[in-house]
Symmetry: D3
Subunit: 333 residues, 6 copies
């Protein structure tokens, strides 16, 4: 069973998997070689030292490997560190990614099935076929289920891209009939595909960061390319429909300054932008509060990207002044 | 029955009501006095002339009066004008505002009843009572049902404020359970009240314009004052709840630059801003296209406030390329 | 007599009042309980330790209390700390706020009386009465005399709000006749009241910070509400005058981007904005230089809010090159 | 005596001076040559025609000349025009500029003497001498007394630069002792000299426009050059003082975006900027209202440079509700 | 031979080709049908009327056709119009586009050959092959030689895209060795391809305007797609090289606000942006001056997109003051 | 020979020159005086201690002196420090500035001669003479050869101003004939002089920083003054030419927001701005990468002034996939 770093106490015997984030060779004053490691899992980081069989162990794993570690935690200069007796490389297939990275609280398989089912309801045959092509692409699906939606701003966890996409699609379904004249098939398809370029933009198998082409090209254009690749397999796909779909993807950031080379020019593009932006922002605020709210405070720290503070009202107590209030009213649903 | 100006043809005998927008005295070359009027209704404007009994008629009405006119349309220098035989002032109660100003296509009384019913579902007793006080204020209700939501940007017609408010409330109802932790009662109440200051900001009994206090104070603060007036009648209204409610009203424009003195700092405030902004923008685009789309064009003129063009896809024809497409797919729902 | 923290030396015997900013329980290696405190006054902060009667003392005061302390300063790891023999809570009425917080160098009572006298000269009876209502409100007066004008940007000390208000009023008096067409009564009244919302926006009894309603509503709207509360007691107060007065308060920040929901639209509003902005900025620069100028430097550090450096000319020496210069010329007046 | 164009009526016999703004040769259908002129004075423009002695008159004056005209006003196609019997060029020295261009309502000679007297009070000998050099430069003085302060934004009339400069100096005198640490001599000198570059930036002998070097270099740098020219004649002028003085001139627009290559970095520079900006803005608003306020309106048209409307309260009537108000209270002083 | 509209005089007999920009049917007061046309060529527009054989002619051509017209110019209400005796549709292949639209002054075929030759010098085989694929695409070449570079801002004439591309490539060649570390092959290739999307973005066979996909997708992304289409035919094309090339195309506008979804992140991308921007701006200024400089003025009108005026120095006269100046010095080379 | 700080190892005997950046007196626990120094050269900083003859040595040099030091490096608390046996002040003439400050890699004398030669080719006699006056001013030349072009943004090393100026001039020479209508003499002269004010703006004899007049006036205006000083010695220098030259200097930053009080209004001014901006940016990126690129990374850290990351492609390996590629293709030239 996984021993999580933030739960390890002094003198615990440890037998668990970790990710090696750093690996250095050292020499004690008495001239003995040792290895100094930085081990990590989703709960934190911890130093590890190997004092014995150093040469053998040094050959057997590298930085960025997952490893099986047997050892004991000891206190050194007011910090815990792990004295390692045995270490060996573990194949990636044998680990649980969610032990090592923050992960969506929702079931990724269920979320994915929901998306697939919704996409089957799309009546326009071209858009329907286009989406099927994505669902028949196992390499895409694997990445699509795993990718976060952003390095840190919102849905910054494994499965975050999928969670954000499904949330957006559900918002679209709830609101699509609110206004006349909306092409629901187009809007749904664009919602499902709006961020597919993020599977290429972000790397997330060791830490969340941007790939080279992510930084140089960006998920908007990378997404357009993935969509183009599929459309090319559909010779009857109407040119106008392709142009409209690509316009929705290109313009979904809403403004030049936010990286969209076009502003939303159709009603569907306008709606897509609002729902995408709102969903990202609300999740971003929720994550920020969850991770950064000071104890006992109702005020978040300053959020640099949003350039403001956020406030968390005390719902259960302060507002309830009379007998006949439903006690659950202010609780989270 | 109302004769609408844009339907009057040469030599029509006219017996109908109009609004006097301008009134000048003139003198013919032969030294006879006459009156020159600009008459208006919701369909346009037309010149009128009074050649007989000028002195008597001149006393009987003023600029900005509604008048009953009997006369005949004649052609003069390539324009139609109305030769008036009889004219008299008509009391405002006897006219139908919707004959004279653009008016919401939806039933204002029904929209208002929907709002009242929704507000009865609010469980928090303080917020529920607050809304009831508004519904018990007939002077407010009369203005609230009549006011446009803006001079020209969106919902710029009689009943527009009510239509926008109801649309926003329905969006909130559709989406409120989408995110955890939203105080629905607070969000609904703020949605209903967010623009009540517009009943004071705009004047709309002769043309749509800003009132003096509208320009000097603005609907956000005028709305806060109306809410404060009601809260003062509810001595048990919790201070915290009042602060939160006012924060939602103050911040609903989302940015300083759009006139909000505070940015949205709670989840409810963030949601209110997005839905309000989207609803105004979509209606604004729809009105702009309806009124300004050039014949045969898919491109709107340049929209100065939004700084862009808008595109109206040809849904029924261009995209349908294969037999098995549902023909109604791209039609407006 | 107050022993100020920045004047305490090693081995001083201390018998003085302090503010408890932090309070923690600890345990020595030998298993004895002790208390670790952070003590503060206006001159700085200092650590304190209680080694005896720990349980009794621990019950007798809390964080944020003012306390009477008897003890001795000792050196520990290159820092002074206070070994406390006796400590007890002191009622807030018995302390001098100016011992604990930075305080205006001017006499607050005299400044307040100057304001009251100036307000008596206002001829417009409505505005005169309005101000009298503020002067008859002891709860307001107490806060108004104590509040700083800002958390840190300018007049950031007890009495700062009063000092800034009086300075602004004096500027208005000096300049009001400079331009034709200025309504002096209106401008004076607005100057006196322009920042009254700050008594609610800021909390300053333990440290300078924003209150919840300060952050959620802001001093501009909170000030409008205080003015409205008083005007409601004056049934004959003209609506137009109230609108103009509120416009001056709302627009005194001058720009949307600085938090004013309206730009100044009357000559009085324009003047109020310029004088308020100048007075805040000059005091802000003076405070910044006073607190942050590096030794021997004529250049201030970078001021983040103003986005620039400031320069302090060497007035007495460098410029004086010839005999006949009045030696006092460049001295501060 | 000057016959002003806006007072000329049909069939008046005219014998007066005008400025020739345009001059064209024409040919009647019957083959006779004539001259068509646009004549102007400060009150407006009017067409003139010369039907006789055309060749002689055509040689005797040019566009942009001042001319003495004898003729008669006649009505032609609903406009008045002047049938000219005699016309001849008049030397510029013989005309009154104020007949032809808008002119300050204040006495230019008196304003100039006030400035000279104030400058004599400056105790710093270098600054005092510097100003004297300006007052001993008759070519400068002539332009300084005549120049407007801007083409159209504020003080846009002959003598406007002088009026603005004196107003600024008086504001400085009224306020200089308000803050400690202000070098009054420096601030006064900079106030007097801050806009001297405008005598070169603007051309104003035929119409108000920018000179080539005005547009290419700008009054800020042109003013620096004029000041440098004088300082070069004062070999003992301290370098530091010169740097500070130039800094005040360079930074008086306050922001890069307003054309200052440096922001104000000393207290004197900050004050100069605020008073200069306020004086320009208030005069700009007053001129705008004077020239552009629609009849019967309290609202100015939209001011493009300031991006807003302005409001002119009805002081004498609306606000006076009770007996004991001093009737002069709201009148302009 | 082409009769250009701006050279047609009253009573000229016309036998020439024109473009029909508008076509309306009318009815004279006496009940006879006629056709009213707007005819155009590169020199201007002119009205035409057909009074005879109206029904026959009406069937024989449409708006936006090129037509052969025989008729006579007559004067009507102070304007010339063409009384048409004979009109017939002409196939597009038979007309000279440069008769109808502004055209580059440079030889388009020669410019194209220069580009092709330069592209042959590229040593990197992948980039060399990529460019060859473009040169083997006749449909592309035809459009590439014809397209303007913009609707109106710069190189706004037939062949403008080609002229701008060649100019940019020559700038790159002149400067590429100026800095170390520049990949010249990559930079040249990107320069040649940077605006190829404009062949799809703009429509220019009847007037210069944006195509639907031009407005909805934009030339940057359309260019990326054209490049992708070719790269797909080169299976060995390295992924990294493709990413870098696309980055240069995507970022060549330099800033988000100018429509680039990425800022230039490599030295080549930075250089491409500067040269492209400079070339567009200088041509834009030159075109603006050529078309809009007022007679006798050295100052251009205000340029709205660049937000400034431009100045054209008088090189031959004003600056030459001494004998020994080379007289050709200030002439245009 | 110079011992560079970043090459000193434990127990090295040191006999070399250093710059004293800090100098403090201390007292050991046993009551002995010592001196604690911070020594510096271009490679880094190091602590030094003087334990003997403290009083004598203390008198013999000051902070900011260059000193000759004899001593030994020892390890103290994991850092190296220098135990100094002998120290004495060294005259500035005896040191090599390039040992102490980062210095251009190019030969400063050769660069300067290149500039002088280019300036001799200028045909316009006024501009030619103006430049000669600069080359005849030894005080200017000394500073011009030494000054960096900026404190840190680009060419931030001794000789950087000269290197940047020559680079700009070479760019101008390469491109000046590319466009018609460019006055090459004017553009070259302005390129040579565009940043001469930096010899006064920056101080660089002990560290790179701004001088007082650099911050208060800025290099643009300081440069104008230096040019004015020289032009005053040339009585025949044409006024128009002077205005144009000064316009190029004033506007070379291109935008108000970048500190230019005028935008470039002539073709020469536009070109100067583009080449200056590009040269500064490319050098800035190169320096940033050279100093700050993390080991093994292709991505630079975030550049705060440019607000982005930069990417360094791996030219030699990744792109080369086929045999026939010239292996030197992607190497730096």
């Amino acid at each position: 069973m996984k021993a999580f770093i933030n739960e390890i106490k002094e003198n615990d015997n440890i037998d668990s998997l970790f990710l090696v984030k750093e690996k250095y060779s050292g020499m004690t004053k008495t001239g003995n070689a040792y290895l100094k490691l930085k081990l990590a899992d989703r709960s934190g980081e911890m130093e590890g030292r190997i004092w014995t069989s150093v040469e053998v162990f040094a050959e057997s794993f590298e930085k960025d490997d997952f490893v099986h570690v047997i050892g004991k935690s000891v206190s050194f200069q007011e910090h815990l560190q792990l004295n390692i007796n045995h270490i060996e490389r573990v194949d990636e297939e044998k680990i649980l990614y969610s032990d090592f990275f923050p992960t969506s609280e929702k079931n990724r398989e269920e979320m994915f099935q929901s998306l697939v089912e919704i996409s089957r309801e799309i009546k326009n045959p071209h858009l329907n076929q286009l989406l099927q092509l994505f669902w028949e692409d196992p390499a895409f699906i694997e990445r699509f289920k795993m990718a976060p939606a952003s390095k840190w701003l919102h849905h910054n966890y494994l499965g975050g891209l999928l969670e954000h996409t499904l949330s957006l699609v559900q918002l679209v379904l709830k609101n699509a009939t609110h206004y006349n004249g909306i092409n629901l098939d187009l809007l749904l398809t664009a919602s499902i595909l709006h961020d597919v370029g993020k599977v290429d933009e972000l790397s997330y198998h060791r830490s969340f960061d941007y790939s080279d082409e992510g930084r140089l090209i960006g998920h908007i254009i990378l997404g357009i390319e993935r969509v183009e690749d599929k459309i090319r397999q559909l010779p009857d796909f109407p040119k106008d429909l392709s142009t409209l779909l690509k316009h929705l993807l290109l313009s979904h950031h809403g403004q030049y300054i936010w990286g969209s080379p076009k502003k939303p020019m159709t009603l569907e593009a306008v709606m897509l932008h609002y729902f995408d932006d709102m969903d990202a922002k609300i999740n971003g605020i929720q994550q920020f509060i969850k991770q950064r709210l000071p104890d006992g405070s109702r005020w978040s720290p300053y959020h640099r990207a949003f350039e403001q503070f956020f406030y968390i009202p005390n719902r259960s107590k302060k507002m309830e002044l009379s007998e006949n209030i439903d006690k659950n009213e202010f609780e989270e649903e």
